[in-house]
């Protein structure tokens, strides 16, 4: 088949139908959003502790953090997802997650919770390295100065080092969350009804995988675009002391319209 054949075979009606909010916006879109957001938030917290552990004075904490990062960054996410949902039950003989969790405002399936667990723990390993890099980018003099005015190590980290590290961490974090939105599609394999599974269910009844996959790709693009806009605002806020002029969104997303920032 050639490109014209593909275009001819492409059913735009199906494409728009799959793209319309009534069909995809519901449960599936919400599941993708809450799974990604929870996994990223929990993963970032885990990552912060793992990063502090990696820089600890205690060798046991450094080792623990090192093994954690080594293992969870070095094995496939899909295997980790299967492990938390199915493998752990087969190995240990009991369920780690109930079938359904009633959160009051919504019911979450055990599969979704297992998925959030797997993605959070995996994400923590990546975030740990990003946060560690951020902390190391703050000159040691900052800590020394903080200690010399009587702050404890903990306060110095919280009040002086982390706020400065945040500027280095946020772009990496943004990258990670962008990835997370798409990685959450792996949860279809443990039966979580999210955007990607919605697409699978859809094309398996209309036999038009090309249109449906294009539509689901655009949904993910919409989500990542919204996140990109949010990230720009966060970076602007954190960088306000450094940057006098602020750039437009078009400049930030597509690199057009603003001052040249090339090296040459």
């Amino acid at each position: 088949m050639t490109l014209p054949t593909l275009v001819a075979a492409f059913d735009t009606g199906t494409f728009w139908e799959a793209l319309s909010p009534e069909t995809a916006m519901g449960r599936a879109l919400w599941a993708t959003v809450y799974i990604s957001v929870s996994a990223q938030v929990i993963g970032t917290i885990i990552g912060l502790f793992a990063a502090l552990g990696a820089m600890s004075r205690f060798v046991a904490l450094r080792a623990l953090s090192g093994v954690y990062v080594w293992f969870f960054r070095g094995t496939p996410v899909i295997v980790q997802v299967f492990f938390w949902y199915l493998g752990a039950s087969i190995l240990f003989g009991f369920d780690l997650f109930p079938r359904e969790i009633d959160l009051g405002f919504m019911t979450m399936s055990g599969a979704a919770l297992a998925g959030i667990t797997a993605l959070s723990i995996n994400e923590g390993a990546y975030m740990s390295e990003i946060i560690r890099a951020g902390i190391m980018s703050v000159p040691p003099g900052q800590t020394e100065a903080a200690l010399s005015v009587g702050m404890t190590r903990g306060t110095a980290m919280r009040r002086v080092v982390l706020p400065q590290a945040a500027r280095i961490i946020v772009p990496g974090l943004g990258n990670e969350f962008n990835n997370m939105l798409k990685t959450s599609s792996l949860l279809t394999f443990i039966g979580v009804y999210e955007l990607f599974q919605d697409a699978q269910v859809r094309y398996s009844s209309n036999y038009q995988p090309v249109e449906v996959y294009f539509a689901v790709a655009l949904w993910y693009l919409l989500l990542t675009t919204i996140w990109q806009l949010i990230q720009i605002q966060i970076e602007r806020h954190l960088g306000r002391s450094d940057r006098a002029e602020s750039e437009s969104w078009a400049t930030r997303i597509f690199g057009v319209g603003g001052p040249r920032r090339s090296w040459a």
Partner: protein
Amino acid sequence: MLRRPLALMFCLILAVFVSACGDDDSGSSDSDSSDKGSSSKSDSDIDTPAPLEAGGDLVVCTDVPYPPAEYQEGTEFKGYEVEMLESVAERMGVTAEFQKTGFDGIIGALQAKKCDAIVSSMNITSEREEQVAFVPYMTIGQAVAVTPDAEGSINALEDLAGKTVAVQVGTTLKALIEKENANLDEPIKVQSFPDAGAAAAALQTGKVDAFFADAPVVADYVNKQPDNFAIGGTQIDELPAGIALRKEDSELQDAVQEVIDAMYEDGSLEKIFAKFNVDEFLLADDADEGDEAAEGDATS
């Protein structure tokens, strides 16, 4: 049949833009031989039909793993559908060569001449018949597996009221259950899995109360792991499954039909199916000729 794993999509897109999907020796068998194939004689049962070449390959697209129909041990293809196609090819004087193809892109691969035939437990539906020709060889319905503890308590769909059922994405079961739910006080809850293995594991670990799949798949789980799985009721929603061929290859269609009929007559197909405990799914006697069995309007 009904599974549509995703690897396919990428394969399909690839097949559209590039020319090869999978091994690159696939397309060669039918290119330059279309006019001489039918005349060459061999020691086989019937003449080698166009577009094949005597002594050449019958390239077969199949979506593995789908035990017990088709699966791989190392690089070798096994399963009752694999053995059936090997016999079919042999009787036509060629060798069957299997090519792993995702189910969603498999009809596209046949049409793009990446292969000469598809065997992948594909149910014959009117939608698919618009695109390809079928030679039916078995009937595949869908069946429910339960845990051995629940054996006997679940014999029909309504027994699953209020329970959670694992189904494979793309099976007709979800629609069937939704229809049934209209008559039930407590609806049957559905959890969809792209892959039968994960759905079965969900039943094994108590995440769901039952697991729906193609009947031969359920039979295979029950046969191999009687400690974990039991059968719940008889198969439903039966449809014939067929070997798919390109519509224009009428000579090949006739030859394959002839061979399948012969294999039904001499009992060799039954022997292959019995080896895998699936002989109960062979076509009923009156459907042997095949063509009249190809009617089906369900959307599996």
